[in-house]
Each structure stands twice: as C-alpha cells, then as structure tokens.
C-alpha cells in the first residue's frame, strides 16, 4: 500500500522535445492518497495512459520524479515497484493454466511453494476463479481472462497500487457492470490504491472516490464525482462530464446582473463580486438539469424556441434554440414541457461563472 506522489512530471515521446506541443504530458504535480480509488478520465490522446505507464515504470518521464511513500522510485524498473497493471486487452500466458498464471509473479520472485498455493487460492476465491484453476487460461471468456490479469496483481502481498488501463473495453456490456462492481468490492476489501484509466464518464463516476480529469497532457480538475458535476473548474470539465454537458452562455457583467443578449440574469452577490475581479471572456454555465422551463415570461427569464424533445424514459431532454446558440434542458418525467416557445429560468445558486474557460473564485 502506498501514497503515490508525482513531482513536476513532464513527458515527451520525442528524444529532443522542443516546444510545449512536443510534450504528451505537460506538467503533472500531484499526490494520490494511499488506499484511494482514482479514475483518470479524459478523451483519447489526452495522456492518461502515458501517466499510468509513468507510475508503473514502463515509461521513465522526461522530467520530474515519482515517489512511493516518500521514496524516490523514478529510476526503478516496473518489477521493483510493487505495482500491478491490468491492460485494455487481457494479457495471459496462454500455455499455462489459470493457477500457473496466478502463481507466475510469485514464482518469478522466488516465493515459497506453500505460500504460493495459499495466496493463489485466496485470490481465486475473491475473484470467483476457483472452479477454473485447473483450466487452460486461453479457453476462458474475456471477462474471466481480465479477472486473471487482475489476479496476477492481487496475489502479490506487497502490491502497492493496481493500475487499470481501460480494462472493460473488451468486456460484454452486461458483464461490464458485474466486473466493475467486483472491482469496487475488492477495493473496499483490500484497501489498495486503485488508479483506473477510462474515457467513459459513467465508468469513472461510478468506480472512483476521486476523479482526475485530464485534457491535452494536463490535469484539469481532481474531485469527487459530485464536485465535478456541481462545480466544474473548467468549461472542459463541465462539457465533458454529464450527458448532455453543461450549457455555456457568453455574457457581460453589470452589477449583480449577467447580461446575455439584452436579457439580465441575476447572480448571487458573491459570484458577481468574484466575476468583477476576473479578467477575460465571461461565460455563464448551467447544468441542463437545473434549467427551468416556464410558459410565461418572468423576471430574468430568457425566451427560447423549443426545437426538439427527446424522451429518454425517466426524463426528457429539451433542445432549445437561442439566437446563435443551442441549449439543453433536462426535465424530469411528468413535468409539463411548453409547446413551441418557453422562457428559461436559471436558479442563482446553480449558475457558475467562467472567465476564459476557468471558474471564477
């Protein structure tokens, strides 16, 4: 078990990186708590896997240091770091049985035979693999194979952290849910540090205590799923998390009023005060589920045309047209949706103000 500290990490795949654009990871400076379940979330190519491989030691970073429990292990090879990694595609030793697969990391480390048998059986129990121990690993289905890959990490009693690189990609949808729950269970049971890379926000939000959102080689925000949803620190997070993502409206500030196309929207005093201190292009952000639809004009409401209504079962997504932009509203089932035209009301406490893409605070 370990606390993982990333100290001023930057990495480039080029031998002689020149500008900032040559770096796959720009600047990562972070501490990951012992026993936490983290999800690394971001679009493809944002540097998630690179960061993971730096932690596991498959890649040595161009700059910076990696510390486990305060000890610098930047130059240690993966096998000396006590980490385990589960890859996107199940990696198995095809010619071995499930038992031998699980025992492999222990045998390589010269663990005593009796202990190997004991550990393998423990892990097989946790992963429900006991009935397959004598089977050839090659014949298992994808989800069992992925469990074996995970098991090879779990058998080591000294393992500090387990890294997952989009481990559910090749798993059937109905098995995904089961396997994810299993992972969560194991995390609670063994209290290991889990770092889980994914580009699927549902996976990230349901799996992790803390979600790390990455974009273009940088960490944009670290927070609980709730933090990310309620107070995204960057328009990217607001847009990336949630389905559909956060609505953004360019605005100007006048006292406690945000002006969007001639309509004044009242803000709370604190937000407005922060907004006056900030520089740059102002945007107002609100989650679709907080947008309220009225059939009559009210104080501070904005007129919009209703373009489409998509019924998603227990809620409806209303696509709204404003001059020059599109907005979404999420309306719970049973709440009436006006026809043709609506006035939009944004509750003060749910409005977030962004300057040049960053949350003002």
């Amino acid at each position: 078990m370990a606390q993982v500290e990333l100290h001023e990490i930057a990495h480039s795949y080029l031998r002689k990186p020149k500008g900032e654009s040559d770096y796959a990871l720009k600047r990562i400076h972070n501490i990951w708590d012992d026993g936490g379940a983290y999800a690394l979330l971001g679009p493809s190519g944002c540097g998630k896997t690179t960061l993971l491989n730096i932690i596991s030691g498959l890649i040595t970073p161009t700059k910076g240091r990696v510390l486990f429990n305060g000890k610098d292990i930047t130059s240690l090879p993966p096998e000396q770091r006590n980490i385990a990694q589960v890859f996107q595609f199940p990696v198995l030793y095809d010619t071995m049985t499930v038992f031998d697969n699980l025992a492999f990391p222990l045998r390589n480390r010269g663990v005593h035979r009796r202990e190997i048998i004991q550990r393998v059986h423990e892990v097989a129990d946790i992963l429900d693999l006991t009935p397959f121990l004598k089977n050839r690993a090659a014949g298992l289905d994808a989800s069992a194979k992925q469990k074996v890959s995970l098991g090879r990490g779990l058998v080591r009693s000294d393992v500090a952290a387990i890294l997952f690189d989009e481990p559910l990609t090749v798993i059937d949808p109905h098995m995904k849910w089961q396997l994810r729950r299993k992972l969560k269970q194991i995390h609670e049971q063994l209290n290991l540090t889990f770092i889980y890379v994914t580009h699927d926000q549902v996976e990230a939000l349901t799996f992790a205590d803390k979600v790390v959102v990455m974009c273009e080689g940088e960490i944009i925000q670290i927070g609980t799923p709730e933090d990310l949803f309620e107070t995204p620190e960057h328009t990217f997070v607001g847009y990336f998390i949630g389905s559909p993502g956060m609505n953004f409206l360019p605005c100007t500030l006048e006292g406690n009023i945000a002006r969007v196309d001639d309509v004044g929207i009242p803000l709370d005093e604190e937000t407005a005060a922060l907004g006056h201190k900030a520089q740059g292009k102002m945007e107002l952000g609100i989650r679709p589920s907080y947008v309220q639809l009225r059939s009559k004009q009210e104080e501070g409401s904005i007129p919009a045309r209703i373009r489409a209504v998509e019924d998603q079962g227990n809620f409806k997504i209303v696509v709204l047209s404003l001059p020059g932009k599109t907005l979404w509203a999420k309306v719970p089932e049973g709440r009436p949706v006006p026809e043709g035209k609506a006035w939009l009301v944004f509750p003060k406490e749910k409005l977030r103000l962004f300057a040049d893409g960053r949350l003002v605070r």
């Binding site: 498959l58 090879p77 993966p78 390589n108 480390r109």
Partner: protein, 290 residues
C-alpha cells in the same frame, strides 16, 4: 465468416487447374506408364506389372539413400531451428538495423541453388578456399572430395548457411506480431528473460515455427542442386540423397522403369509427409482462432 456457396467459382479456378494439370498430371501419367513397362527402344515395350516396384523396394542403395536423407534432414533441422530463433531474438526491433538485417538474411535465399554449391566449392576447397585452407593450416586434413565425413560437414555447413535465414525471417515475423503489452505485463510480473521467452515468445511463435519446421523438412528432403555441384553425391555414395540417386538412375543410367517406380515411391513418401504438414497447419490455424 461463412463462405458463399457457389459452384461457378470453379471457372475462376479453371486456369490454375489447367496449368497445374498440364505441368503435373500429364508428366505423372508418363511416370506411371514407365513404371509398369520395360522399354528397350522406340515401340519396343513390355508390360512388367509391379516388377520395378519390387526391385526398387528391395534396392539396398535406395534404402541407404533414404536413411541418409532422413539423417541429413534431421540434423539440419536440429541446428537450423534453434539457431534461427536465436538470430531472430537478437535482431533489432527498429531503426536502420532492421532493414539491414532483413536484406542480409534474405540474400542467401535469392542465390540460385547451384551457385550456392559453387560458392561453397570455392570457399571450402583446400587449395583456393578460405575455409579449407584455414582448417588445413591448423593441421587438420580437410577435403570434402576425399573424406565422407568432411563432405557431410561441408554440406551441413552449406545447408545451415543457406536456409537458417529463412527460419530466422519467419521467427522474426512471428516475434514482431506479439503485442507490446505482453512484454509490459511480463516486466510487471517480474519475469526473467528466459521466462519471457518460454511463456510468451515461444508460445506466440508456435504457428510460424511449425511452418518453418515443416518447410525446412520438406525442402531439405528434396535437396538436389547444392550437393550435386559440391560433391556430386560422393565421395563414393556418401552424399547421394534421394533426388541425386533418382537423377542418376533416370538421366545417368537411363533406367526408365526403375527410375519411374522410384519416382512414384518417392512422391508417395513426400505426399504422405505433405498431408501431415497440411493437417498440422490446419490445426495450428484452428488453435489460434479458439
């Protein structure tokens, strides 16, 4: 994926069928024809039934050639397979070294077979050859034209020199097809270089290595041009392999009947081996899909 049922596809195979039938079936008919007749001259032939076959099967020199052939093929495989794999493992994975290695390895494969014989003739002769003169200057009498053992050593060296690159190229292709994550997982699992080879590389290369093994077995079983140039089957009959013996019989002594019977037996042996080859290949394919 299921294939489409369509017997009209035969029309697409027809040209191949015609050309191979012309090159294979008609000549084979001739051979069968000869194998059951005794031919004295144009128009003078007698039907002799299975007599040539009996004679051929009882031919002691044929038996010797057959055992010699198996011994040669076996020894050659024993050297070429591990050596080829070792070379493939040592080859660079990226950079200019890849092109260089591939081109160098492929070079012996593109030299006409009798020129291979010539190269080794020049190289191993005690008077003008580098290899021959070095060995002789070390005080070891080495002459492949006089000593059967020396002739075998020379032939083996030549065969290994000529064909190990093929094994290496196949093994290399197999190695390159292994996804990088296997090596990453092995590193994390703390696997030694040997364990990585034994449990990742070797199993993943099984397919190409089977093909390499069988190809090398078949081709060394049919070897003709290189020993013909280098030793001509001698000294004595010590390097007379099946093909050499057959050509001696047919072209040298013009014993058409026995040569034809021999041909058919030879071809049946190869056919049997080929069938095993084909079955094994099919199973290899199936094993990888499962």
């Amino acid at each position: 994926m299921e294939k489409w049922d369509n017997n009209k596809a035969w029309f697409l195979v027809l040209p191949v069928f015609a050309i191979v039938a012309f090159s294979a079936v008609i000549p084979l008919m001739t051979v069968v024809n000869y194998s059951v007749q005794d031919i004295f001259g144009p128009g003078q032939r007698v039907f002799v039934g299975a007599e040539w076959f009996k004679a051929t099967l009882a031919d002691r020199r044929l038996h010797e050639a057959l055992w010699r052939q198996f011994l040669f093929s076996g020894l050659v495989l024993l050297i070429e397979m591990p050596l080829g794999v070792m070379i493939a493992l040592a080859m660079p994975k990226r950079g200019w070294g890849v092109s260089f290695s591939l081109v160098t390895l492929a070079l012996p494969l593109l030299i006409p077979w009798n020129v291979i014989g010539t190269i080794w003739l020049i190289f191993t002769r005690p008077d003008i050859g580098l290899f021959g003169s070095i060995i002789n200057s070390m005080g070891i009498a080495f002459d492949h034209t006089a000593s059967p053992l020396d002739a075998w050593i020379t032939l083996m060296l030549m065969e290994v020199w000529h064909w190990t690159p093929l094994v290496a190229l196949l093994a290399y292709a197999g190695l390159r097809a292994i996804p990088e994550v296997y090596y990453q997982a092995a590193k994390i699992d703390g696997a030694s270089a040997w364990a990585t080879f034994r449990y990742i590389q070797l199993p993943k290369m099984r397919g190409v290595l089977t093909i390499a093994l069988l190809l090398r077995f078949m081709d060394s079983f049919l070897i003709y041009a290189e020993p013909f140039v280098l030793t001509g089957g001698g000294p004595g009959n010590s390097t007379t392999f099946l093909s050499i013996y057959l050509v001696k019989l047919a072209v040298g002594q013009f014993d058409l009947g026995p040569a034809a019977a021999f041909s058919i037996i030879y071809f049946l042996i190869v056919l049997a081996l080929c069938f095993v080859f084909y079955q094994v290949l099919q199973n290899v394919g199936r094993g990888e899909k499962a």
